[in-house]
Symmetry: C2
Subunit: 402 residues, 2 copies
């Protein structure tokens, strides 16, 4: 490709960032030819020639000069339609829609193969941190053992206000919403789904296996209480929302999104505020740690720019690991050690612990530390999502020390 003519879908926060970043990148050889938005007449702060704005998808698809679709809209269904339509027309796509990609990756890979074209989405996982590209190209071997990280900036910002600035959870959430870190419906970030979608994408590029988001245990931070916060602080730990994919043997791996107690010696302990941080662990190189801004208009847009420029050289993901021999298979058949705090719910009766390590009861709150299989946690999701219950993983149980 000698020059890139972009058809851009979406002119929200990230879309506006893309306009700004493409203008700065003098050597990118890229130009935004058309922009498709929901409401053509909306007043916009971004300085864009109004004649290139349209509200009809076909104006973009039928422009013969456009050779790349960039899609950054916040509606996963519409995003999927746009991506499919573009791929079927053999127009490569750069996307930042993690939910759309995580839910539809097998189909999207099939479409890329069938129509011999490319879908790039490094911006969908951890904004400006090049995690997908590095897993696909640099850690493209059998040595990889684990990818673990703080993948959601909003929930991390809230926990950071709580643990580093001694705010209450409610105040921290309100502050995050005020700053625009958390949506007015914050459940996508707070309940772990944003981290989950990123983890599903990462796992495809880390181990070559697609696991449906529905099959992954995902537990957010909305039920955290002052009791849990005090407990963690007494132990000199922080609670972080951690997404993790890990090989537990040569042939099996597991994955989940859960709050974890994190000790100061761990890399992710110091990933504060709205930052993201990822630890990539391998057999011979030990641990690599990458850290940066995971979200926001310009960081996400600069990641989109990297994908756009990769198309100058016809780059595409090869999904090499999906054809590797000896790919590990996904399992939830493993034991975890967890802390579960509860008030009224009779947790110990309701959950099939294989071992109880500690019990604590008081007038204020109760907790149990015990061993339980991941599959039993999945089966008993309902019990764990009751208002007076909060779960935290004790990851040292099956991990080496960092």
């Amino acid at each position: 490709m000698s020059a890139i003519k972009i058809g851009l879908f979406g002119l929200g926060t990230v879309g506006a960032g893309i306009v700004e970043v493409i203008a700065k990148a003098r050597n990118a050889n890229a130009e935004i030819k058309r922009i498709c938005v929901r409401d053509k007449n909306k007043k916009r702060k971004t300085d864009v020639n109004p004649t290139i704005i349209t509200d009809r998808r076909e104006d973009v698809f039928n422009d013969p000069e456009i050779n790349l679709i960039v899609e950054v809209i916040d509606d996963p269904e519409a995003a999927y339609e746009i991506a499919c339509e573009a791929l079927k027309r053999r127009i490569p796509v750069v996307s930042g829609s993690k939910a759309m990609i995580a839910k539809n990756l097998p189909n999207l890979i099939e479409l890329q193969r069938k129509y011999d074209t490319a879908l790039l989405y490094d911006a969908s996982a951890c904004g400006s941190i090049p995690v997908i590209r590095n897993l696909e190209e640099y850690y493209d071997n059998d040595l990889l053992l684990e990818v673990k990280g703080i993948l959601n900036g909003s929930s991390n910002y809230i926990l950071s206000r709580v643990f580093d600035h001694n705010e209450s959870y409610a105040d921290a959430l309100a502050r995050a919403q005020k700053l625009g870190f958390a949506e007015s419906d914050p459940s996508f970030d707070i309940e772990g789904f944003d981290s989950l979608f990123k983890l599903v994408i990462i796992t495809v590029h880390a181990l070559g296996v697609y696991v449906s988001p529905d099959d992954v245990f995902t537990y957010g931070i909305s039920n955290i209480s002052d009791c849990d916060i005090s407990y963690a602080k007494e132990k000199r730990m922080k609670i972080k929302l951690v997404a993790q994919v890990i090989k537990i043997s040569e042939s099996r791996f597991t994955m989940f999104v859960m709050p974890q107690f994190v000790a100061p010696s761990r890399y992710i302990y110091s990933v504060d505020d709205e930052y993201n941080g990822i630890v990539i662990r391998g057999e011979c190189y030990d641990r690599q740690f990458m850290f940066g801004k995971g979200a926001g208009s310009l960081p996400t847009a600069s990641s989109i720019l990297s994908d756009v420029m990769a198309r100058l050289h016809d780059y595409r993901y090869e999904y090499k690991k999906m054809s590797y021999t000896g790919r590990p298979s996904y399992t939830t058949d493993l034991s975890l050690k967890v802390y579960i705090r509860y008030q009224m719910t009779p947790i110990i009766e309701l959950l099939p612990f294989t071992k109880i390590n500690e019990r604590y009861n008081s007038e204020k709150f109760n907790y149990v530390i015990g061993e339980i299989s991941l599959s039993d946690l999945i089966k008993n999701r309902n019990v764990l999502h009751v208002d007076d219950v909060f779960l935290v993983n004790l990851p040292t149980f099956f991990e080496d020390n960092e």
Copy 2:
């Protein structure tokens, strides 16, 4: 390339690691066909079929099956001969020899173009941290402003023993040598040349400009004394050996290797022991931080493996940024603020400071903090390398806060 048949030069620490890593990488489709060593009869711990070992270069070059040369010998002149010979025969090369590459990069780029073949060397800069590949492919745009890092594990280990474990410099150096982190002649690490060579390579891929190592101000840590260490500790800072390339305007950049005072708020403050850490700063994504093992047998070998596997897909560096319009040019014409400690040498008389900010004199030691141009530091290298003098950069002078 469907299967990789490697001709390996060197079976020292890294070479033995490569043998181990290639054996583990079942899906790499790579095999070590021949190994060329200096002394064929040397007893080796590595389990290698002795019939593939040779001491004659031509046995490797003349093997028609060999389609990749991996070169990890510790003699830069011989390494250069091998790389040139291979490239002229259109055999791609993977190398870990930073000194060889940093000194000869313009010629090596020319040979790659002339003979339409590839030289990869991600292992040469920071072992397992994929810095070259990311600068070349992911940060391949005009947004990059700065790359700064701790690029040498041995000197960092020594400083870490001093600042984190309260050892004396002499004890720390001895411990590093005992552990094999520092060579018996440690000047390559300690005087900053290892960091310098890595910085020269990084700068080519960061800004598209080659600067000869001879033209870069390089100052190591061998003259550090207890006075400097106490001074830093009093200010709640550490001294780190930092390599840095930074745009100081749209059209100009500078680079140097120097000890720096580093405050706890900086990312590189917590890069301890033998680790490397790199901060990549850009206009829109702010700061990215990468952290990992920068040296050692297996970390370096796993980086070599990444380059080997990249050849499966015919990957090569395009040196795109070298043809960008508006490339910045190298300058040493800028003012730095430095701390210089001295005993007898009359530093204030000998150096053309443009401003003196602080002076301190005592029976034990003296120091001056002043402003001086980088070009004047280069001109007065001799004065600075006198035994009783030690220089530390105060980088906040021309940088934003991190």
